[in-house]
Symmetry: C2
Subunit: 335 residues, 2 copies
């Protein structure tokens, strides 16, 4: 028995599962709720709660700027945060391919612990399954999360209103290009790192500046263009962007040119879109720029009453073209 590898028996529910949980998980992620090891975590609640989930299948599992564990925490923290919730508790579930090095699992768990600490959330319940070699790809992670929403907030993809300003919190496409470069062994002149980060701190500062934010979303799979199309459809409004104002890192822009990609369709994991009454835009923008995860924030467009469900973009030459939802597969297993 190779003690450095994950075995099927680590997923059996028996002694090895027990050892794995107590040795690696409880030790790194320790908190009173998790340590009880009951079938569910129990805690007091009150008011409005947000509840979300995501599974992570990113390949490779380690990439510049993060790994699948950090991603799994940040992704769920961000999905709660963009609803205006203060993220509080996460669940954590592994599907591991037999034969994974235990040191790899340990490193992932350390990243999970660090990301949870930064975001101020606790992992309170979890699960571990192991499948035979060749029946998964190293490790898949699911996180679900709950958070509590202050009474006065009402943030939803269906709340965009004509006249609202559209803001992004930084450069588009960093995560997707970092993954692609790592996966394909591409060497760009300037290295691109994933923007993977928990956005709850940034969002707290934004809500202090303006509690009347109508929509927040994190433009992950499908990128800015797809997420804005979803919002336009949910809110039955048009969205008009100004291409020159959308921040894109030169290295990402160059990589996109080389790969034939449009950065507006490339995934982000540490960026958000905010849609809010135009009069609050300057105040929110300066709060965003003062936060480490929002220094490149910019107003990139506005919400219109005409062309409901449609996103259009004004090019530097003044032409207006339609920015459709992504259709085929652009970048598989990006998150």
């Amino acid at each position: 028995m190779d003690k450095t590898k994950i075995l099927l028996a680590h997923g059996s529910g028996g002694r090895l599962t027990h050892d794995l949980i107590s040795k690696y998980l409880v030790q790194s992620l320790s908190n009173p709720l998790l340590n009880k090891l009951d079938d569910a975590a129990v805690f007091k609640t009150g008011g409005n709660m947000a509840f979300t989930t995501d599974s992570y299948v990113v390949s490779p599992i380690f990439f510049p700027g993060g790994n699948i564990g950090k991603l799994a925490v940040c992704g769920t923290v961000n999905d709660l945060s963009v609803m205006g919730a203060v993220p509080k508790y996460l669940s954590l579930s592994f599907i591991i391919e037999e034969g994974l090095d235990i040191t790899v699992l340990e490193e992932i768990i350390q990243s999970i612990a660090a990301a949870a600490k930064e975001a101020g959330v606790e992992i309170v319940t979890g699960d571990t399954k192991v499948v035979n070699i060749g029946k998964a790809d190293k490790i898949f992670i699911n996180t679900a999360g709950v958070g509590f929403i202050p009474e006065e907030l009402d943030i939803s993809g269906s709340n965009a209103q004509p006249g609202d300003a559209v803001i992004v919190s930084g450069t588009m496409g960093d995560h997707g290009i970092a993954i692609m470069a790592q996966r394909e062994g591409l060497n760009f002149k300037m290295a691109v790192e994933s923007d993977c980060a928990p956005l709850n701190g940034l969002i707290a500062d934004m809500l202090k500046a303006c509690p009347r934010i109508h929509v927040m979303r994190d433009p992950t799979r499908g990128g800015l263009a797809t997420t804005l199309n979803e919002i336009a459809a949910q809110s039955q409004v048009g969205i008009e962007l100004d291409e020159e104002s959308i921040p894109v890192k030169p290295a990402v822009g160059g990589a996109c040119d080389a790969l034939g990609l449009d950065p507006l369709y490339v995934a982000n994991e540490g960026k958000l879109i905010a849609i809010l009454p135009e009069e609050f835009a300057p105040k929110v923008l300066s709060a965003m720029k003062a936060h480490p995860y929002g220094v490149d924030s910019a107003v990139i467009g506005r919400v219109t009453a005409k062309n409901p469900s449609r996103v259009s973009i004004r090019t530097p030459l003044g032409a207006l073209r339609i920015l459709d939802m992504q259709s085929g597969e652009l970048l598989p297993r990006i998150c």
Copy 2:
């Protein structure tokens, strides 16, 4: 493009993901929270909440008595219910292998909808990822769930007390043997079906009969023996079972003999263990026997102060042997 198969683009976050969600998921699982398609579901809370998660990797994905979808709903409903919670909202996350027949996904979603309906829970948020052929095994499902716990209840694996009665809600090992038989193409004289079922209705009846239940657990992976060992360790008590009183279906007993398995280590997916003050045992037992999922309920042993952390079992000949936690892998991918 083969429109009958799941494609990588179904997991891209773009148009095909959108179509998959709106055509299959929202239609079958429709409810006001899910239909909003926001990044998280938002709802009112209050009091104590339970929160749990499980990933399901069962192989084969269809088996006598259920499929991976029904299992994913029942498993999470049961993990909440054994904590005394009334299960309320579930998340649902798919990891699908490219090439899966869409009709298979549809059938699984229909089972999810049916099981959710029976259990009285709503699927309120979710996620879909697709990985390349050969990087997963057809479909893996994660569910997380939340439920609310009535104030007066305090149920936990650490609450077993010397003198308590140990009850099981029916025959042991049905799920594991049903999976094994299907997987290995075994033909037993009597067919064995998985016991996969939501137990919240049964548990509600039990709590009406006795709100002072100390411990409830569902003996899934690792079976009765492993779950009781966990409880004995959490509560720092001994548990002594009477072998003859543990219900096992003749077909399951026969299959276990043929396969060299002990039914006390084989997984269940529709059974529970309850540990409660002995004086309430008769009342709880009769409430259990009156419920369709509890007809074979039985008192199988008692909690002792001596031999803390140890589970022992008295054989029909009167000998007392130790029933250890499962060590190696018995039945991989049973749930």
